[in-house]
């Protein structure tokens, strides 16, 4: 089956710092999404980004489908950014059920 790897698994940042989260996948994917799961368990859509680059405020994401990776950039981190970040994708040619990575657990401290 498809392999997905997220790195780093855990990350501690001081408020105001920048970070890059990475998602590697081993097969051609049909779509790719980034989610933030907040401490209350809510899963929040960040980006739908099968390819290219998108930006939304302090967050941006880039997917290079031909090289099978995606990056999530967080700039000027805030304590509200804490939580777990998941990448998820559907395998090309199958129904669009999402396969989730194992996540990056981010803690932003004052």
């Amino acid at each position: 089956g498809i392999q997905v790897e997220q790195s780093p698994p855990d990350l501690i940042l001081q408020e105001g710092a920048n970070s890059t989260l990475r998602c590697n996948f081993s097969d051609s994917v049909n779509n790719l999404q980034w989610f933030h799961q907040n401490p209350w368990g809510q899963l929040i859509n960040l980006f739908y980004i099968p390819s290219g680059t998108k930006q939304n405020g302090r967050l941006s994401a880039t997917t290079v489908a031909t090289e099978r990776y995606s990056l999530l950039y967080i700039s000027s981190s805030q304590t509200t950014d804490s939580g777990v970040y998941f990448c998820a994708f559907a395998i090309t040619g199958t129904a669009s059920k999402l396969t989730f990575g194992t996540g990056t657990r981010l803690q932003v401290t004052l």
């Binding site: 779509n31 999404q33 368990g41 899963l43 040619g93 129904a95 669009s96 059920k97 999402l98 989730f100």
Partner: protein, 117 residues
Amino acid sequence: GAGVSQSPSNKVTEKGKDVELRCDPISGHTALYWYRQSLGQGLEFLIYFQGNSAPDKSGLPSDRFSAERTGGSVSTLTIQRTQQEDSAVYLCASSLVSGTGAGQPQHFGDGTRLSIL
């Protein structure tokens, strides 16, 4: 509605009882998905609906789990004779048209936290 709505938000029940979880997708979304997240774990796929049909049930962990969708809208996930290992957060998502080769973003509800005593 504006987002995916799930009910109940929390459910505590005794081992051996049956439970029903409900999902009301975003209006107009033909695809609906159920996922499960066990404590400290990632999300695992359970079942996918396109309209009222379920072309992919591959993630249902046992025959105690079933799901249906009526009118191309609301879906219920039923767990019979619950076991402690069924304790998890059950998440529902919906998207616009889905199918092979078509990608659409999935939008998730807040989930139902199920605890089996």
